[in-house]
Amino acid sequence: MTWLTWRQFRVQAATALAVLAAFAVPLAATGSHLASLYRSDGVTGCHDGGCGQLASSFLDDAGTYTVVYMLGIAAIVLAPAVIGLFWGAPLIAHEFETGTFRLAWTQTITRTRWLASKLALPGLAAIAVTAGLSLMFGWWAAPIGQAARLATGSSFPLGMGPFSLLAFDAHGITPLGYAAFAFTLGATAGILLRRTIPAMAVTLAIFAAVQVAMPLGIRPHLFPPARTTAPIGSLSSLSGATHMSGGSFAFTVRNLPSQPGAWILSTTAVNAAGQPVSAVPAACTHQGQSCLASHGIQVAVTYQPTSRYWAIQWTETGIYLALALALAGYSFWRLNRRLS
């Protein structure tokens, strides 16, 4: 059966290798220059106080690589969806459409072994391809990632923190989980719908929905957020700003100096007792921060510390792999129980 799976998969495998090669060329060509830029800008050996400034100037110098950076992220973010649509969805659906499942299922091989073989080779290839993309990009973008954590007043896109929406999805091991999930999702949709195009449409819709729900609704809560409060007078040290317009608070806190790269989840104004304050005290309307400080108002910040980066990466990848396994298990059950 492995022979047949390989015979049917070899064109896709060649395409995947071509894509990996095409991805590697620009990264290999520019990677060493980016690393030397990082060293020559002095970020490597910097000391506490000066690091932020040095990192920021490195990010300015690296601005010419913005396009490569964004294209790399786009490729890694889109790869699992493409795999789900073009490897997963047609995998079984096309056998149903052309009737070849009747040919396959009447050879001396059980449906379970047939499906196991069909899922295993392209599924592992899907994981390997995204692993390759993520490894190459991770190597190339390492200086940018380091600088983004250290930089003061970092900005989009090179200054994205490790937890920001696109950066997190394109680094580390999560792309592997996304690819495994998208592939099995496509295969399962194909088994249920038995038509390639509808299976592709359903795969895209569900995968997109999951990819939006994960960073917005689930990832922030994988671990209980840490919490800290800072006097409002020291707000500038929170690398943020406060606006007092018409009596309500609005904070933008991008970075905690004590936690470079931490994922800020929420910022609220609280009084000395730690209770939330929704409106600026009347006495302080159109007054400065010092007025708020004198009223004992502080800023409460909830965040995921940078030290949890890999714990969150592993947990999220685990969730996607578990989903992929559950879908695969369902596919086996479905194929054996509900005969054609």
Binding site: M1, W3, L4, R7, Q8, V11, T98, G99, T100, R102, L103, A104, W105, T106, Q107, T108, I109, T110, R111, N336, L339, S340
Partner: protein, 286 residues
């Protein structure tokens, strides 16, 4: 001889429509069985049940004295050529044979090579897919509408090739068609399936010996003896023509008795089941 396919009250339902109902059959081994019926009668459903591609909604089915093939032991014993002879578009004939060799422990390489060499096969030709079904050395070969898309010459060649392959092996064959004329030169056992029900089944010789065409002066059917089952009746103003099934001789001197052709016999059963009851919408999509 044991039965190659034995069913009791077998039925298959798609949502609320019965594609096959109350089917009780015992097909003896060593036969070439023709399964005949109009499109949508349930032929593909019956053959899919026999090859383990479908599970029954009612009744039981035994294939080669075991369960329908879903495990490897039974799968090895049943060869199947599905309707439309599906093949993998990107694979050549040689690739398909390699597929057969990889997926069937009992694969007969010499037989497969010999057939391909002799037939000068074109990838799309059914004889190629027939090779795939035969070279696994099954005990039962099931062919669903194998000649439907072939021109008359190709039909004859396909069936001659099939017969040659069958005589070389201890093999039972079940093949379906909506036209009896396709099958009458090869099959020695006949099943007529119309409107999801078995109308008649038996060895061809026996069917021909027990069905008679009676013609004579016009008369009322109620006067027919109890032993004669009227399959079809045609009346003109002065004459009545009957197709009857009986195991006893027809003694009434008013009748002129003649034999029936297999085609007349099948058509009579199809007419009896009624064209209005055909379930065209149940035809399995390829």
């Amino acid at each position: 001889m044991t039965a190659v396919i034995e069913t009791t009250g077998l039925g298959k339902r798609y949502r609320r429509l019965w594609a096959l109902s109350d089917c009780t059959l015992s097909i003896p081994a060593g036969r070439v069985v023709g399964l005949v019926g109009p499109n949508g009668a349930g032929k593909t459903t019956l053959l899919s049940l026999a090859t383990g591609l479908l599970a029954p909604s009612a009744g039981t089915i035994e294939v080669l004295a075991g369960p329908p093939p879903t495990g490897t032991a039974q799968l090895a014993r049943v060869g199947f050529l599905a309707q439309g002879a599906p093949v993998y578009a990107g694979l050549s004939v040689a690739d398909h044979l390699r597929l057969g060799a990889h997926l069937n422990p009992g694969w007969d390489t010499a037989l497969a090579r010999g057939r391909i060499g002799r037939l000068h096969l074109d990838p799309s030709q059914k004889a190629g897919t027939l090779t795939l079904a035969i070279a696994k050395r099954p005990d039962l070969l099931v062919l669903d509408e194998p000649v439907a898309s072939l021109d008359p010459l190709a039909r004859r060649e396909f069936l001659a090739d099939l017969m040659e392959a069958v005589t070389g092996q201890q093999l039972s064959v079940v093949l379906s068609s909506h036209l009896i004329t396709d099958l009458e030169r090869v099959c020695d056992y006949l099943i007529v399936l119309v409107a999801s029900r078995i109308q008649v089944a038996g060895p061809v010789e026996e069917l021909l010996a027990t069905h008679h065409l009676l013609s004579g002066p016009r008369r009322d059917l109620a006067t027919q003896p109890a032993g004669q089952q009227v399959i079809s009746a045609n009346h003109t103003d002065v004459q009545t023509t009957l197709l009857v099934r009986t195991s006893e001789p027809v003694l009434d001197p008013a009748w002129t008795v003649s034999g029936v052709s297999l085609e007349d016999l099948v058509l009579a059963y199809m007419r009896q089941a009624g064209p209005g009851r055909r379930n065209h919408h149940l035809e399995i999509r390829k």
